[in-house]
């Protein structure tokens, strides 16, 4: 990740020092490039604010997300309820904050398991080992990639969810653990599992293509010659060289997973009530008559979701540019 040497000017000294630093720490270089892009910084801020709101939801939310007040349902924004109330008189602001929490939990879980662990690991393994391992991983990947994502996710969640709920019910009956099914936590696992299952293929393909080039390089040969094991070479020599690609994948997957969770929940096969989700909020507001009478039911979650998706798209583009040296 070297940068073409600039001409010697008054600032050249500073630039050179920065590049020396950057050569030691490429992440610094990446951050330096990214920091100059105003749009990217704005997008990053939006993502951080929404994710931060998700983390701090219990502290920030003025009400509980399940607290109903049927006498004050469907109210517009007021001093008591800054973003109004929904059909059951629940505070929209609190619902939005906790929905951001749901988005946070699902996206982070899927990125950790699907992208970072499954996709990254399988891509490294397939690219480095080659042979039948490569063929097997890539053919399985082909099958997953050729499946239409949304219908499959719907099918998977529609069939898995009741099963998982049954199991959870059994666990609750036979062990001291309780409150899992009544709180709807189980649905998080099916959503997250189904999304992880479909999100690894792109990452694995990308990493594999990069590793195919890397493994021909001398430093890998040297590592092999000195008796480095497969794991050692993968972790110590290949991983650091694909980490930039992983960053790109993470930003792309975060956005698409956030969108998928919302759409699945909208469809009724995602996160189950009473857990709040932007998908459920959008669903409640999506009738034409509802929109006419109470536009805030749709507009409040829509504004947050659209900002988040737009921010992810812009941030992904900027990261792409930064990684490619622009």
């Amino acid at each position: 990740m070297s940068v073409a040497a600039g001409q010697y000017t008054a600032e050249a000294e500073a630039v050179e020092q920065y590049e020396r630093q950057a050569a030691r720490n490429p992440w610094l270089l990446l951050w330096g490039r990214l920091r100059k892009k105003r749009l990217a910084m704005l997008s990053l801020a939006i993502v951080l604010v929404i994710y931060g709101a998700g983390i701090a939801a219990p502290l920030l939310a003025p009400y509980s997300y399940t607290e109903q007040n049927l006498e004050r349902g469907l109210e517009g924004p007021s001093a008591d309820h800054w973003l109004g109330t929904d059909r059951l008189g629940r505070d929209m602001l609190s619902r939005v904050l906790y929905s951001a929490r749901t988005t946070l939990i699902v996206t982070v879980a899927v990125v950790l398991s699907g992208t970072l662990i499954l996709g990254n690991f399988l891509g490294l393994l397939a690219g480095y080992r080659g042979g039948w391992i490569d063929s097997l991983i890539m053919r399985v990947g082909d099958v997953f990639a050729s499946l239409p994502g949304l219908p499959m996710l719907i099918l998977l969640n529609a069939t898995l969810l009741p099963r998982v709920l049954q199991w959870v019910g059994w666990v609750e009956d036979h062990t001291p653990i309780s409150g899992l099914s009544s709180s709807g936590t189980a649905s998080y696992f099916t959503v997250f599992g189904a999304l992880a299952l479909f999100s690894w293929v792109g990452t694995a393909r990308l990493i594999r293509a990069q590793v195919l080039q890397l493994r021909e390089r001398d430093f890998i040969l040297a590592a092999q010659a000195t008796g480095g094991s497969t794991w050692h070479i993968i972790w110590r020599h290949l991983m650091p060289n694909v980490s930039f690609l992983i960053i790109l994948e993470v930003s792309a997957v975060l956005g698409s997973v956030a969108g998928s969770e919302i759409l699945l929940t909208w469809f009724g096969v995602g996160v189950q009530p009473p857990n709040p989700s932007f998908g459920a909020m959008l669903f409640e507001g999506s009738g034409a008559r509802t929109f006419q009478a109470h536009p805030h039911l749709l507009l409040v979650p829509a504004a947050v979701v659209t900002s988040l998706m737009f921010a992810f798209a812009l941030l992904g583009d900027a990261l792409n540019d930064a990684v490619r040296g622009r």
Partner: protein
């Protein structure tokens, strides 16, 4: 190249079998016993066993799958559990036809508007309009389909009564001029779903065309064309456009995926009797055989289309070597 295509074609049935088996096992994994649903009040074990055999639900999952494949290849996807007396085929295919029509029109619109937008953006490169166009398109892509539709219905159907609230009446209406000349015009039911389906798609097509066109603009033949005094519009249409179109074949697949996924929400919200609406209803009523058949058919179409796109692309652009890492 022929070898590669043959290899891919040989893999096709394997992929299709894997896809259908995966879908099948997931669907069979669902809760509830379809046999006792079909039997209704009857609890006679003999009756249950007969229904089980009739529906191919006896034996191991592999035996069941083999029976299902045996029927499916002949177009028999079983009987709907939710709509008694109707075969899954009777239910699915008319709806699929509706979705296919809508999807095809949407595909044409995505490319028909996306390509000029991308070209325009490349042409305006260096001005503030270029990033503006792309940002607006990206913003439209960030808008979830389910957010776009209610305001559209409210404005055009409820508030102003220009367009119907929902439903479906074919793509074209016929206008008779003086009772003799037939002019096909788009059916008014088409507009709202079309807007909802195409808005997210423009960004992908336009950005790809833009990037390619920007590269083409630096080519020598463009400089020559300008040097010989061709007007800028003619340079764009005659020299840049044709050379920018090659890679868009690769995004046909992506665009179609977007349209198919969008159709689930568009059809559900607008009451269009297509495959998306059907899936929504089937999920609600837990009609697994319908979901299964839908998913398998859509998956088949996807697999075949991806292969077609790859072959067509290598055919129109001989520089592409098949079997190389896919363009990311």
């Amino acid at each position: 190249m022929a070898g590669y295509i043959i290899r891919r074609l040989l893999w096709l049935p394997v992929t299709l079998l894997a896809v259908s088996f995966l879908t099948f096992s997931i669907a069979r994994f669902g809760p509830g016993d379809p046999v006792s649903v079909a039997a209704g009040q009857i609890r006679d074990p003999e009756v249950l066993a007969r229904i089980r055999a009739e529906r191919g639900l006896d034996g191991s999952i592999f035996e069941q799958y083999a029976k299902w494949v045996d029927r499916a290849v002949r177009g028999d996807f079983g009987e709907s559990f939710a709509q008694r007396g109707y075969s899954v085929r009777e239910i699915i295919f008319p709806k699929m036809w509706v979705s296919a029509q809508l999807g095809l029109v949407a595909l044409f619109v995505v490319f028909g508007l996306g390509i000029p937008l991308g070209l325009l953006s490349a042409w305006l490169h260096g001005t503030w309009l270029d990033p503006l166009i792309i940002s607006v398109l990206l913003f439209l892509r960030a808008l979830p389909v389910v957010v776009v539709i209610p305001p559209l219905i409210w404005f055009f159907a409820v508030q102003n009564s220009i367009l119907p609230v929902g439903g479906w009446d074919g793509i074209f209406d016929i206008w008779w001029i003086a009772g003799v000349i037939a002019v096909p015009i788009p059916d008014p039911h088409l507009y709202i779903p079309l807007v909802a389906l195409t808005l997210p798609g423009f960004a992908g097509v336009a950005r790809l065309v833009r990037v390619t066109a920007l590269e083409v603009y630096t080519e020598d033949y463009v400089r020559t064309a300008r040097a010989k005094g061709l007007p800028e519009t003619r340079v764009a249409v005659r020299h840049v456009l044709p050379n920018s179109l090659l890679p868009i074949v690769t995004v046909v697949g992506f665009a179609l995926v977007g349209i198919v996924e969008g159709a689930f929400f568009t059809e559900t919200l607008l009451g269009i009797p297509g495959i998306g609406r059907l899936t929504f209803d089937s999920v609600v009523s837990r009609d697994y055989d319908v979901i299964l058949a839908t998913t398998v058919i859509v998956a088949f179409l996807f697999v075949v289309m991806n292969l077609l796109v790859e072959i067509v692309y290598s055919w129109i652009d001989p520089r592409v070597r098949l079997g190389e890492a896919a363009v990311v």
